[in-house]
């Protein structure tokens, strides 16, 4: 259920957390009733960590990431610097919160308590934001590119949100 992201672990000698640690932070969002899963995106839209059912693979989340980034860029073109975006679908919501070093995306049902989700997302953002920023500034070593925790089979192993191998 809760897996690491497509991003590889931080190189040795740095304090940047791996995707597993980020994924663990995301798991706290499940305390809010109605939360189905969440994932972290880098500013480029790459998948950094995930806590989402395997039915949504990393490649799909990478595609989602690119579009979420373009969504944000589109808002910027009309003078909006988005901090929070809530998308409502027929039976779900996608909560996207801009955080330091990327974006936190949470998939929920429509009956989720938005105040509780906002609070939980704020706490998670506070926790993972700096870690995510550090992760983004650290270079992955060559030998470590595909050693990160994957959410699925080798076919879905990712690097910077892109399938590899």
């Amino acid at each position: 259920m809760i897996g690491g992201g497509g991003r590889t672990a931080a190189p040795a000698g740095t304090t940047a957390p791996g995707p597993l640690a980020l994924g663990k932070s995301l798991s706290s969002l499940f305390d809010v009733s109605g939360v189905y899963g969440s994932f972290l995106l880098t500013p480029a839209g790459d998948l950094a960590a995930r806590a989402l059912p395997e039915i949504v693979d990393d490649a799909t989340l990478a595609e989602v990431g690119g579009r979420v980034v373009r969504l944000g860029e589109t808002f910027e073109t009309i003078g909006i610097d988005p901090e929070l975006c809530v998308l409502r679908f027929a039976e779900h919501k996608l909560y996207v919160k801009a955080i330091a070093g990327g974006a936190l995306c949470v998939v929920t049902g429509i009956d989720v308590s938005m105040p509780a989700l906002r609070m939980a997302a704020n706490l998670v953002a506070r926790k993972v934001g700096p870690d995510l920023a550090r992760l983004m500034t650290s270079e992955p070593p060559d030998g470590d590119r595909d050693s990160g925790a994957s959410s699925g089979s080798p076919a879905t192993r990712m690097y910077r949100g892109r399938p590899i191998g």
């Binding site: 579009r67 998308l87 679908f89 039976e91 996608l94």
Partner: protein, 294 residues
Amino acid sequence: MASEASKSWALSPDSVAEPRGFSAAIDGGSLWDAVQAEHDGWGRTVVRVQGDDGTTGLLFLDAGRIVHAQSAAAEGEAAALELLACDSGVLEACDVPWPRVRTISKAPEMLLLLLRAATSREGGRVSNLVAFPGRPMPALDAMVDMTAEPAHAHPMEEPFGLVFDDDHDWEKEVTKPAGPTFETFESLPAMKEPRGHAARTETEEELSLPVSAHLAPDGTVLEATDHDFADAVAYIGRLSSLVGELLGLDEFRALECASKEERIFVYTDEDGGLVAGRLPASVEASPFRERLGL
């Protein structure tokens, strides 16, 4: 409102010979019923209203919807509500220049809801039912004679008592009211299902959200305060649908994007088009969120 017996809409003598003239004689109905009875729901029609109470004006209908209205004292929704409030009088089809800008996006049923709410609140008086935010309407007794010749009336417009003010920024004035108000509509009665539309009824925020862009399902910009904004809204709608499809979240309905300064709401209307509005961050947005399911 007048008694049921006194409500009647009669054929205009002038319009008898016109092929497009109405023959409206509604007993116990409303002006809108009369218009619906004669308008086939397709194409464009302009209806001149001459109410027995002295109200005069024009309703511009396109595909069964009122897209613009003009009375002696107001235009846009304000004028439409003023005209729809008439209990009796004469209707006639007429040929006048089509407005350059669509000033009304609400469905007729929603206008009637507004009308009903206003008349209920005012105990039958409708003089201030068009006091939209930031768009006060002059009192009825301050109405001017529409047939008075304006300084620069077009020769073709004069016979119809209509002069379009090309310099007047309708779009800005009509589509960007100062802010939302909901208290007026808190206890609206249920309306019958709109004719020719799906079961979805228009929501309260559609009454009050300052519409900055309205796009048809095919991407046609129906109204926009800024065409760049309309383009962005079209792309935002597309991206949102794609994100939903990828995640298995079907049918994009709405979104809210918040920054420190303002919020943008985008939602799909009953026709599948997109409507977007901007609100300052200082404006309470909970009613919008609630109605849009956000």
